[in-house]
């Protein structure tokens, strides 16, 4: 009886350890490969903007190509929040896509705002793998360098 119970528990421990090793290494490898693959193509990020001269409304579209060089599917999210000088969110846009191993997909973030109202932006990038249970995310604030500049 002792041997049987102990053996069942030992096999369970081995299965759990193997799952831990396989899941974490495959996920972290895919996430880091996707991140590196995307950073290598950072120059391919495209910004398209159109401004209505009458209303001053700006339509900004950011095209972000993401390449998954890993071995499992990843879920990538890109979000942009445009912020005014007093900290309120002027516009926001996000896109997310599931990218299989070896695939390249383009994420499109669209934001509409009034010209002259944006003072900075919150950028966020998130990459998750294995049913979105393991992930890595980055977020950063970018200020537009307009304040303090002398007028021509």
């Amino acid at each position: 009886m002792k041997r049987k119970a102990s053996k069942i528990l030992s096999v369970t421990i081995i299965i759990l350890y193997a799952s831990l090793l396989i899941v974490s290494s495959a996920s972290l490898f895919s996430i880091s490969s996707t991140l590196v693959g995307s950073l290598e193509r950072a120059e391919d990020v495209r910004f398209d903007s159109t401004t209505n001269p009458l209303t001053g409304v700006v339509n900004l579209a950011v095209h972000v190509p993401i390449r998954n060089r890993g071995i499992v599917e990843v879920n990538v999210k890109v979000a942009v929040k445009l912020i005014s000088a007093d900290g309120t969110i002027v516009a926001e846009g996000f896109d997310s896509k599931r990218i299989g191993p070896g695939e390249t997909k383009e994420l499109l973030v669209v934001a509409t705002f009034l010209r002259g109202t944006v003072d900075g932006a919150d950028l966020a990038f998130e990459c998750r793998a294995f049913f979105d249970l393991i992930g890595l995310s980055f977020s950063m604030r970018v200020e537009t360098p307009t304040e303090g500049y002398p007028s021509p």
Partner: protein, 142 residues
């Protein structure tokens, strides 16, 4: 003992000065104190070695054997929480790393599922120790 205590300590001593300066840079830019993490690994390694010695020196039916086995599991789990949280075991696998480059950037590594699997391994290992202790006590020669 070798993996947790000797190898990390030796590697920190034997590292060339340029790499050591990177270790300091990591601390400056991200707040991750690699030297502190290696010191904690050293202490944990010594504790695990002492517990392993105590476990091997006692009979399987002894209560000391069970306590040493359970403590080893608990300390091992603490160590994995410490490593997965990049020095903060209370983060439970969700490590938030502020990046100080002049702007406000943050990176977050979500390994909560790995922590959950680790907790399951610790629970099953503890159950195995209790089962072994229970049957060893039952079969103990009087």
């Amino acid at each position: 003992m070798i993996f947790l205590s000797i190898l990390p300590s030796l590697s920190l001593w034997l590292l060339p000065p340029e790499i050591k300066s990177y270790v300091l840079l990591i601390k400056d830019y991200t707040g991750i104190d690699v030297q502190f993490m290696i010191t904690v690994a050293l202490v944990v390694g010594l504790m695990l070695a002492a517990l392993s010695f105590a476990k091997n020196m006692t009979h399987e039916w002894s209560i000391m054997n069970l306590i040493a086995a359970l403590l080893s599991e608990a300390i091992g789990f603490y160590m994995s929480l410490f490593l997965l949280g990049l020095g903060n075991p209370l983060s439970m696998g969700l490590a938030k790393i502020p990046i100080n480059y002049g702007g406000g950037a943050t990176a977050a590594l979500d390994l909560r599922f790995v922590t959950l699997l680790d907790a399951a391994i610790m629970a099953v290992s503890a159950a195995k120790s209790v089962v072994n202790f229970y049957y060893a006590r039952k079969e103990r020669p009087v």
